[in-house]
Every structure is written in structure tokens, then in C-alpha cells.
């Protein structure tokens, strides 16, 4: 699934480690999310949306 995590992170000038710390996950997890190779669970997706103050569907795009 595609997502705008990398862009949103860059806009805030956060490193992957910064974002990892704010979401309380590992840096590998951020990397796997940003490459679109790992889709987060709904709870983690909501945490990400809350952190950026955006609706989930503006961060994650269903390719179907």
C-alpha cells in the first residue's frame, strides 16, 4: 500500500529515528512502512494519523 509518510516526515524535518521515537516503534518499522512493503495494523495507522493530525485516507492510499 502506498503512503505519504516520507513526505509528511520531511515536511516536519524529522528523521526516521525521530518518527520512530514519536510512534514508539523501531526505525526498521518506519523504513518498512515508508517503502510500502509493510502495511500497519489499524491501531498503528490511527496512531500515525493522530501524530500528523490527518485522516488515515490522506496518508495511506489504496491502490485498488
Amino acid at each position: 500500500m502506498k503512503n505519504r509518510l516520507k513526505v509528511l516526515r520531511a515536511e516536519r524535518d524529522w528523521s526516521q529515528a525521530d518518527l520512530a521515537e514519536r510512534l514508539e516503534v523501531s526505525r526498521q518499522t518506519i523504513n518498512a512502512l515508508e517503502t510500502g512493503k509493510y502495511d500497519p495494523s489499524l491501531p498503528l495507522a490511527f496512531r500515525i494519523a493522530r501524530l500528523f493530525g490527518l485522516p488515515i485516507e490522506t496518508i495511506f492510499q489504496d491502490e485498488a
Partner: protein, 133 residues
Amino acid sequence: MGSPKSPAGRRYMARMMPAMLLYVAVLFGSIYILRHLEPGGLLIWIVAVAPAVPIIGAIVAMGLYMAEETDEFLRATMAQSMLWGIGVTITLCTIWGFLENADLLPHPPLYLIFPLFCASFGLAQPFVSRRYR
């Protein structure tokens, strides 16, 4: 499991290391007692099975890691690596069993299955992680 990247990973290492050290100590102690002191009755059973206790501890440490890991991605990659480990272990044991059945291979000690699982589980980890890079 490679370098721990989470609090649960650090706790896993803190449980696994003493379990492995204890295993080496108990294993040598058990072998020594069985060979030189020749215990009888119930004692021989206890001394003989003793090395399995720290191994069970190691298995429990793996289970606790899966239960305690709060990072869902790390948990998912660990679960996939464990499934690879289980698959490889069952495959090799099945092949060996049929070859043994035809008297082509000797009967291996069953306690080697755990190190076989650990080796295949460990080898699978970098390959599973690489899929998400």
C-alpha cells in the same frame, strides 16, 4: 535473534544468555554425574533430564518475546522467521527419517532438533528482514 532493537528484544537477550550459560553448565554436570557417579533410581532420571530445563527456559524466552514485543513489525518478521525455522526443521527431519528408515542414515539424538530449529530460525532472519527494505 540479532541485535535487539526494542525493550522486549533486550529482555529476550537478558533471559536467553543466562539460559544458554546454564545449559552448558548443566549439560557438562549431567554428563559428568552420569559417567562417574552412576546414580540410580529416580536420581538418574532427574540428572538425565536436567539439561532440558534450561532449553525449555530458552523456548519460554522466545514465547515471552513474542508476547511482549509491542512493535508489530518486529513481531511479524520474528514470526515469519520462526515459521521458516519450523518449516526447515520439519523438512530436514522428515527427509532424514525416511533415509533412516531405509538404513541409509544413523538415528540422530532428538535433542539436536532444538539447535537445528535455532540455526534455521536464525538464518531466516536476515532474509525475512531484507524483504521489507
